[in-house]
Assembly symmetry: C2
Homo-oligomer: 343 residues x 2
DNA sequence: CTGAAAGCGCTTACAG
DNA sequence: CTGAAAGCGCTTACAG
């Protein structure tokens, strides 16, 4: 069976003794086309099961109604939520999403970007890979006149639209909350410090301690080492210190917070009475553990929506020829106080 | 600032006093082109920061090197993992992914499909929405000669390639395992029964009981009602029965299993001694609770890889004109035995 | 090995 | 309101 050809506007035109021009106009709801023939054309197109060729239309119009997204990992909660948020908002406007994952590798990130440029996407949304600090490929996006929007992990030096989480502020609030609850020796589980977002969380932790006149004890700061096998022992060591902490801010994520909870339970350390615990990212399970775990919600879906709205707004501005200043929108994460820090 | 035009093969040709034909051939590594000029062309293209226009190339070639994916929700673990798997395999071959979410709504699913048809994707991968049982839009995909691959939630009546999970077999194994461990009154937490996959899990549960000569007690089968507020009370009711279960198969997912664990702990019911628990889907947290929770791994990333491999294989067959029979590949989920069912 | 030409399916100024 | 024509950027048989 040879692939039968698709119906084109020429086929419709031929059938109705019209020209492709008219068919095109009718189908695009353009003015200057007789209402009766328009009706006829639309009806006939449906009958013939006509599907417009977006490729041709986009080539002609010089835009693709497509947004490209590059994230380190598609199947990481935060990112898949952001993508879902972007999808929701852009879909209504008839935009498509092309999605790539960099796998945290700079090489692949460059390749993804090139593919998206070749695809003539109208906009590229990216959260940069942890590896590499050469941003020539992103500059290339700008040079090709494609709107670039960075989020979460951003290259500061590039002047682009940015949507970020205020990690420092959120961390500061979380730690301040714990101090208010009477915790005095608060430990920090670091996330990977090569990423800015985790450095910000650490900075927030330190700022909170200082603001409340508490000392920063290096002994209580645990470097990121969260393979499954290392997590437990690290926490155990912490809790076995001569002067153990009375609270732990698991700034990496809720999984590390869960490990803390498990180790504490296992050692007979009561949460929240003897040990406060706060995680990060509001994974679904934090609500259902006992005690439930305090954490920080990043509003990831909302971040996605913000990104797309920012894009559409920017497009409007360009049409109006308003000067567009590169701006950064900071989303305030929300501290979710649950039982694990309430005493 | 007006958008500057991109470099085309004509620009390169002009610069080198050649024709677009030659440039095209050189850039596509085609034969019949002098090695020296080829080198020159490639070098010049790079210097001019030339990016091919995939839109034009695809229009001309009549294919898009793009695969469309439609899932109920992008940000659901299972689906985002499948997508990641597809991405990994297709990326190497230079394919792009256009991703849509149906939000479980039939209307939106139809719209997604139409968009993908218009985009001239080469293949559509879909897991159908829970709503609706009219599959005209999928038939339309086939009619447009686009390869259709269904996965997980499939419309049986359509003759397409299918990649499914053997939910029944996996559930049967899980329940049999619990029986082997000495549990005798095993309860079932159902998933939404309008979806085939959850009906299969229930069937596996019943089959296991029957195979081991155990009675099926309707009292022990709890309908899906997993809003956060309803989960706890439902489990509590179950455990307060005059003849309570000594094990629970949370066939819906690991979150419901976690609820069971929390309620049991709260009631002083020892897991696994007095109550066995098995979840479904191998969420990351199941490994780190105490006791760790037995569950079923669906190999979701592998499912994604299988889907793309199936597609490439099918393409090869078509090129060889081999008769292509619609086939179903069944992935065997893996029972992960942990502490919550080991006594 | 290279060039001239047609065409993928559409849109859109330009006439009438 | 409708048509004829050009062109988006590329690829590919057809000549030479």
């Amino acid at each position: 069976m040879k692939p039968k050809k698709r119906v084109t506007i020429y086929d419709i035109a031929r059938k109705l003794n019209l020209t492709a021009s008219s068919v095109s106009r009718a189908l695009n709801n353009s003015s200057h086309v007789n209402e009766a023939t328009k009706q006829l054309i639309v009806k006939t197109a449906a009958e013939m099961n006509y599907k417009p060729n977006t490729l041709a239309s986009n080539l002609r119009k010089g835009k693709s109604q497509t947004i490209g997204i590059v994230v380190p990992r598609i199947n990481q909660n935060f990112f898949s939520n952001v993508i879902a948020g972007i999808e929701e908002t852009t879909y209504q406007r008839g935009y498509n999403l092309i999605i790539c994952q960099s796998n945290e590798a700079h090489d692949k990130e460059v390749q993804c970007i090139n593919t998206l440029i070749n695809q003539h996407v109208d906009c590229i949304v990216i959260s940069v890979a942890s590896e590499g600090n050469d941003y020539a490929h992103l500059q290339n996006v700008i040079d090709h006149n494609i709107q670039l929007i960075q989020f979460d992990r951003v290259a500061d030096e590039l002047e682009t639209l940015k949507v970020v989480n205020d990690n420092q502020q959120a961390s500061m609030e979380a730690v301040s909350h714990m101090i208010t609850q009477g915790y005095k020796r608060i430990a920090l589980l670091e996330g990977p410090q090569n990423l800015d977002v985790f450095r910000q969380r650490k900075a927030g932790y330190i700022a909170a301690l200082k603001a409340h006149g508490l000392p920063v004890d290096e002994e209580l700061i645990v470097a990121n080492s969260w393979t499954k096998d290392l997590a437990g022992p690290a926490v155990r060591t912490l809790l076995n210190l001569p002067q153990p902490p009375d609270a732990i801010f698991a700034s990496r994520d809720d999984f590390s917070a869960l490990v803390v909870l498990e180790v504490a339970t296992d050692m007979g350390v009561k949460v929240p009475e003897q040990l406060g615990i706060c995680g990060y990212s509001n994974e679904a399970f934090t609500e259902v553990t006992s005690p439930s775990i305090s954490t920080i919600d990043q509003h990831s879906v909302y971040i996605g929506k913000t990104i797309s709205n920012l894009y559409f707004q920017e497009m409007d501005n360009k049409n109006k020829d308003t000067a567009s200043t590169p701006k950064t929108i900071s989303i305030k994460p929300k501290l979710i106080i649950r039982s694990s820090t309430s005493r």
